[in-house]
């Protein structure tokens, strides 16, 4: 079968390829948010962190010529935003949701401000690993070029799950998130644990942002992120604070986001913008189906205000 004859089979293939491609930022942001929420705090500012990570990753990759340094810089920028969030939240009477909104707006503004000079130039992108060389079909080969960051995310999800369950750090994190009183009685510094958790969450979210600017779509512009960060935060609730479920949910959302472009590639342009809204509609529907007014969600960290 030649590339031209792939025809309608191109749609599921493009959705699958798109799911892998588009899901990477969802995956990193949701894993990061998972760590933060396990500690009993929610960081709604990850949308801003994502955009900030995309900008700083692209800028550093352009200035140094090394995309991996860009990824590191994006992670560090995200961690700084996480620490900022944690420090403000540790003050008395400060609401973590409001701080998240503020940091979301600040992060987007700062990224647009600093990123202005980097809209034009082309920075070196992250490498992809060709898994489809066995096929002589160009479309299949193109679909199976999988980015290295996605593979890192695939490894990270089960590692995090294992770490939450089996390590001392994981236990401390869950204790702080489930009952601040119990953690205090055991002598843990709650604010310090939460600061580390939020910084780590920001680090991963920043890396998720660098994927946007360094791999797919692969350049920095002000319209780069449209709600992936906030969708990923909602996704953590859907995934019940379980990193492996975060991974599957990210794939699902990536597939939903890839539906519009996939249909466009076979000539269906009608409703293109509506298909673009598919991940948001899906998120909302899943939240409607899985939430309940009468009980807190299974697996929810006890200190988390957002589910109460």
């Amino acid at each position: 079968m030649s590339a031209d004859l792939l025809g309608w089979w191109g749609v599921p293939l493009a959705v699958l390829a798109g799911a892998i491609r588009v899901s990477t930022p969802f995956l990193f942001v949701s894993l990061g948010e998972c760590i933060t929420e396990k500690s009993g705090r929610i960081n709604l500012g990850l949308e801003g962190t994502l955009v900030m990570g995309a900008m700083s990753g692209y800028a550093v990759s352009y200035l140094t010529g090394s995309p991996w340094l860009g990824v590191l810089a994006a992670g560090c920028a995200g961690a700084v935003f996480g620490i900022l969030h944690a420090l403000i939240c540790s003050l008395p009477r400060v609401n973590d949701i409001a701080v998240g909104i503020a940091l979301m707006l600040f992060g987007i503004g700062l990224a647009f401000f600093l990123g202005k000079p980097f809209i034009q130039p082309q920075a070196p992108n992250l490498p992809s690993i060709p898994f489809g060389n066995w096929s002589d079909n160009a479309q299949v080969r193109d679909s199976l070029r999988i980015n290295a960051l996605f593979l890192i995310g695939v490894v990270l999800a089960p590692v995090l799950l294992w770490a939450f369950r089996n390590t001392r750090w994981g236990l401390i994190l869950r204790t702080v998130g489930d009952s601040a009183d119990a953690a205090r009685a055991l002598g843990y510094a709650i604010n310090r644990v939460r600061t580390f958790a939020t910084a780590g969450g920001g680090f991963l979210a920043g890396i998720g942002g660098s994927f946007l600017s360094l791999s797919y779509p692969g350049s920095w512009s002000e319209g780069l992120s449209s709600g992936q960060g906030i969708t990923a935060v909602a996704l953590v609730i859907f995934a019940r604070w379980n990193p492996m479920l975060c991974f599957w949910a990210s794939l699902l959302f990536g597939g939903a986001a890839a539906l519009g472009p996939a249909l466009q590639s076979v000539g269906i342009t009608q409703g293109y913008y509506l298909f673009n809204a598919a991940p948001y509609v899906l998120t909302l529907l899943i939240m409607i189906l899985t939430c309940s007014r009468d009980r807190t969600l299974a697996g929810a960290p006890g200190e988390l205000g957002v589910t109460r």
């Binding site: 709604l44 900022l84 403000i88 003050l91 008395p92 009477r93 400060v94 609401n95 949701i97 409001a98 701080v99 909104i101 503020a102 940091l103 707006l105 600040f106 992060g107 987007i108 503004g109 700062l110 647009f112 401000f113 202005k116 449209s226 709600g227 906030i230 969708t231 935060v233 909602a234 609730i237 409703g271 293109y272 913008y273 509506l274 673009n276 809204a277 948001y280 509609v281 998120t283 909302l284 939240m287 409607i288 939430c291 309940s292 007014r293 009468d294 957002v306 589910t307």
Partner: protein, 363 residues
């Protein structure tokens, strides 16, 4: 304040208390804004621009002349209305940040309904546009409120997701069904007609949308602080369980508060369409909804305080163009300052009850 040696009677002490908390409510946000301005000054000087020149230009662009005042007030109009979208549900303890979505849907509804009334009198068209915009916006935010009440879906996330869905619906219709074939580079709905545009307040270039906003704020203030319904809202905001216990209809309170909030933001969309752009296109989606959240938090969700705060933020927005032209700063400069103010205002919560000269007198 030193403890007074003279014994005050209860009345005087009460008045002192009211005065002190009033002074605190003004002083703390002012300190926060000043702090944000100082950090912003350091930020622009790192970008190689003289901070004092920046402050000077910002003042000139916002409040320096009658021309800039008019620009500022024109921008304040939608901000007042989108701030109400955040402030009304906040009385119930809800954080709704989807004002942008209600604005976009409201503007679209207004532009669409004007096309169905080609021969009607301007006043009828304007009324229909306002009603359609308010109904569309109300439905949009009430959906987030309803999901919160019946399904326990977090309203902050739901309302933000609804923003992206609103923008997708907007793009779908403006690029398709409602597109004016003559709009080539920038897809738009057809013009609503010059006769149907909102007029300006006599003697100024400011459109009547500002008056709509001020009236809406006064009505919201009366609703919250002078009616039984508003009392119920504040009780439920303080403690939902207690509100249920005394038999308050919490579901109705949530739906009505969110509906009114969405109606305000929808009206902002109508005002932008009917007074500024004349049609619905991408120019509508410039972030008034997000700045409105900041306005509401700065005003501590008090409808009357929203008016001056919206004028301040409108002024900052109005000065953005001048900073771009004169100093070569990017257009996102305004966003950076807004973000800094937002962070400062949340941090300043700590200061309440701690300012040395406004401390409570111990009896």
């Amino acid at each position: 304040m030193e403890a007074s040696p003279v014994k005050l009677d209860n009345g005087t002490a009460r008045w002192q208390d009211i005065l002190r908390s009033g002074a605190e409510a003004v002083a703390v946000p002012l300190l926060a804004v000043l702090g944000a301005l100082v950090v912003f000054g350091i930020f622009v000087s790192l970008a190689g621009v003289n901070p004092f020149e920046t402050y000077n230009l910002m003042y000139a662009g916002a409040f320096g002349s009658w021309f800039s005042w008019q620009n500022t007030l024109t921008r304040a109009a939608p901000l007042i209305l989108t701030a109400l979208c955040c402030a009304l549900p906040a009385q119930l303890g809800m954080v709704v940040i989807g004002g942008e979505g209600a604005l976009v849907i409201g503007g679209l509804a207004a532009a669409a309904i004007s096309q169905t009334l080609p021969d009607a009198a301007p006043l009828v068209v304007q009324l229909a546009m306002a009603m359609a915009a308010m109904a569309a916006g109300a439905a949009w935010i009430a959906l987030a409120g309803g999901l919160r009440h019946w399904r326990g879906v977090n309203e902050t996330i739901a309302s933000l997701l609804l923003v992206y869905i609103a923008i997708a619906v907007f793009n779908h219709l403006v690029e398709g069904l409602l597109r004016d074939p003559a709009s080539l580079n920038k897809p738009s709905t057809p013009h609503i007609g010059d006769a149907n545009m909102l007029s300006t307040i006599p003697g100024t270039d400011i459109h009547w949308g500002l008056a709509y906003g001020i009236i809406a704020c006064v009505l919201a203030y009366i609703l919250i602080y002078r009616t039984t319904f508003g009392f119920g809202m504040r009780v439920a905001g303080g403690n939902v369980k207690a509100a249920r216990m005394v038999g308050l209809p919490v579901g109705k309170l949530v739906l009505v508060a969110c509906g009114l909030a969405g109606a305000a933001a929808g009206l902002a969309g109508m005002v932008e369409v009917a007074a500024v752009h004349g049609k619905a296109n991408a120019s509508l989606i410039v972030g008034y909804g997000y700045t409105g959240i900041l306005v509401a938090f700065l005003a501590r969700h008090n409808p009357l305080a929203i008016i001056p705060v919206a004028i301040l933020l409108g002024g900052i927005g109005a000065s953005g163009g001048l900073l771009q032209r004169r100093l070569g700063l990017p257009d996102a400069t305004v966003l950076v300052l807004q973000g800094l103010i937002f962070i400062a205002i949340l941090t300043s919560e700590v200061l309440y009850g701690r300012l040395p000269w406004l401390k409570k007198v111990k009896a």
